[in-house]
């Protein structure tokens, strides 16, 4: 009755060839894998890595945009930004819960973020020096996130797929809002237009890097594709993003900081697409490895919040404990 591959108390699986084949057959039949289903350890590990990195990105991503809440130029913009940053926090919470279904606690994941062991999207290690950065982030960063996440709505792991459906709705609202903000800057005074172009210049390349290394250099892609955790390669998604975004920039009179950007009729099986310049992968790896302008500030801000809040969390526990004792005594 203890079938092979069933998760034991220690969540270990016996991965016989038969078990792996049966698992792959479920994936191929587009069945959703649920928390209590048997799964290969590597599948579990890959998902924990992906979901927790995604959750951390939402949380760290609150900082660069949060940087402008108190300085937002109008009350309408202030309210929209507050709501957006709050949404990102909600995504983080939701994703930590999805990760917990795989047997890791939020506490544990938080520690990994604070000690620098866990990764989060490198894009958030770039600074937001101007108000236009808020538009650029919504338009480009949320835009790139959607390209990545829409296919994840069909991810083979049920809880992640379901989380993504909800998250994607909000991300596409953020993307439209960011583009609308950029549009109003682009239609504004010369100073505003310059601010918008400068933000685009700074965010364009980092947002292309958000899709990760080229397929030839990506260490995780093949197996994730076979398990239908991922549905498209990094380069495919990046191309989709470029093709969708370049016309949006043109529409509002902004230009991408890429001299090699040209329309290529023959791309995408004859449907056409943009050729674009070479991504500076040295910069990408430099930031991934912790040497971007804001890496240390981001982690230090999260650590400070965590450390400064320790007494609050302790007090909440102590109070709950007292309440329990009072109930028991009553």
């Amino acid at each position: 009755m203890y079938s092979q591959g069933l998760i034991g108390a220690n969540t270990e699986t016996q991965e016989t060839p038969e078990f792996l084949a049966a698992f792959q057959a479920r994936i191929d039949a587009e069945e959703k894998i649920e928390p209590n289903d048997p799964m290969p350890a590597a599948y579990r590990k890959t998902l924990i890595r992906m979901i927790s990195q995604h959750a951390h990105s939402e949380i760290v991503g609150m900082l660069p945009e949060g940087n402008w809440i108190t300085r937002a130029p109008t009350l309408r913009r202030k309210v929209a930004l507050l709501a957006k940053v709050q949404d990102e926090g909600g995504h983080g919470l939701y994703l930590y819960s999805a990760a917990e279904t795989l047997g890791v606690s939020r506490e544990q994941l938080t520690q990994e973020l604070l000690t620098g062991k866990a990764k989060y999207s490198s894009i958030f290690n770039y600074p937001t020096p101007t108000w236009a950065d808020i538009g650029a982030i919504g338009w480009l960063v949320d835009g790139a996130a959607i390209m990545n996440q829409v296919p994840l709505c069909r991810c083979s792991y049920g809880p992640y797929a379901r989380a993504m459906i909800r998250v994607c709705k909000e991300e596409s609202f953020h993307q439209r809002q960011g583009y609308e903000l950029m549009t109003s800057l682009a239609e504004g005074t010369e100073e505003q237009k310059a601010m918008a172009q400068d933000a685009l210049n700074r965010w364009w390349w980092p947002s292309l890097m958000m899709f990760g290394p080229s397929d030839s250099d990506s260490q995780h892609s093949d197996q994730s594709m076979a398990w239908k955790i991922k549905r498209f390669t990094n380069d495919e998604l990046r191309q989709k993003f470029v093709d969708a975004t370049v016309p949006q920039a043109e529409l509002i009179g902004l230009s991408m900081p890429d001299e090699k950007l040209t329309w290529n009729e023959s791309k995408n099986n004859g449907q056409g697409g943009y050729d674009f310049g070479e991504i500076d992968w040295d910069e990408f790896w430099q930031v991934v490895k912790g040497h971007g302008m804001m890496n240390k500030d981001r982690i230090n801000a999260k650590r400070k919040a965590w450390d400064d809040g320790a007494w609050v969390r302790q007090a909440a526990l102590a109070h709950a404990e007292k309440q329990n004792q009072r109930k028991a005594a009553a």
């Binding site: 949380i59 709050q86 609050v312 102590a318």
Partner: protein, 253 residues
């Protein structure tokens, strides 16, 4: 009626400024809260407050009749023209101070809005109807934290005690009534102190009892904001708030 308009405008600006400035302080926490749940709750309350401020500024501008917008009122006045009470502009200091400040304010606003909801001014009554639901949540949320912290660990109790000592002297200004507000009270548009005060006292006493906190005697209340006399920290708050509007005059955002 013209007269009421002018006085009501002045009185509503006081309330609008309270909401904007307290919302501003709360929003400073965003991303830096003691736990993720509070990283969601504090911006949520800030959203409520700034949303209320927008309604109030818009209505005050309408009463004024000078074609000023909500943003003109929120962003383009001098420090002496803001008439929020001092309580709401005080720095966050720590989570205990922040939650206590929130409780003091919400405990005042709930009976305020409950009264206004029933007043004869339809615009005001509609604003109040929405606000009263939101503010009840603020009382509950902040009140629960004051209780947890007051009756938590030694450290949290000490911090809570300190917050009460620091902030209680500012609460008197919540009940400040000037000639403008007096006229609105007489017209039945805004509540008199004896409508609001007993409920405020009851809310604070109930929370403090569970939080094991004593209500201090205040001999020297700290006042000034309603007359545009602010603390030093307020100038820095305005510098942040107004930065974009001052740096790019006349631009649309």
């Amino acid at each position: 009626m013209t007269e009421h308009k002018d006085h009501l405008k002045v009185a509503l600006l006081q309330v609008a400024d309270d909401h904007l400035i307290l919302g501003h302080r709360l929003s400073e926490w965003c991303g830096h809260a003691p736990m993720l749940e509070e990283d969601l709750s504090m911006p949520n309350m800030a959203l409520d407050l700034i949303g209320q401020a927008r309604h109030l500024y818009t209505y005050a501008a309408e009463l004024e009749g000078l074609q000023r917008s909500e943003d003109d009122l929120a962003y383009l006045r001098t420090d002496r023209e803001y008439t929020n009470c001092l309580l709401v502009e005080r720095g966050n200091i720590d989570f205990a101070h922040t939650m206590l400040k929130q409780l003091y304010f919400a405990a005042y606003m709930k009976p305020f809005w409950q009264f206004v909801e029933g007043c004869s001014d339809n615009t005001l009554s509609a604003i109040a109807g929405k606000a009263v639901k939101e503010i009840s949540y603020h009382i509950r949320h902040a009140g629960e934290w004051v209780i947890r912290l007051g009756d938590g660990t030694d450290e949290s109790a000490e911090r809570m005690h300190l917050a009460v000592e620091t902030l209680h002297p500012y609460t008197e200004e919540l009940f400040w009534i000037d000639e403008h507000r007096k006229i609105c009270i007489d017209a039945g548009l805004l509540p008199a102190a004896d409508v609001v005060r007993p409920q405020w006292d009851a809310t604070i006493s109930a929370v403090f009892e569970q939080a094991k906190l004593a209500i201090p005697e205040v001999t020297y209340p700290l006042l000034g904001g309603r007359e545009g006399k602010h603390t030093e920290a307020f100038g820095y708050l305005l510098a942040e708030l107004q930065y974009m509007q001052r740096a790019y005059p006349g631009a649309q955002w």
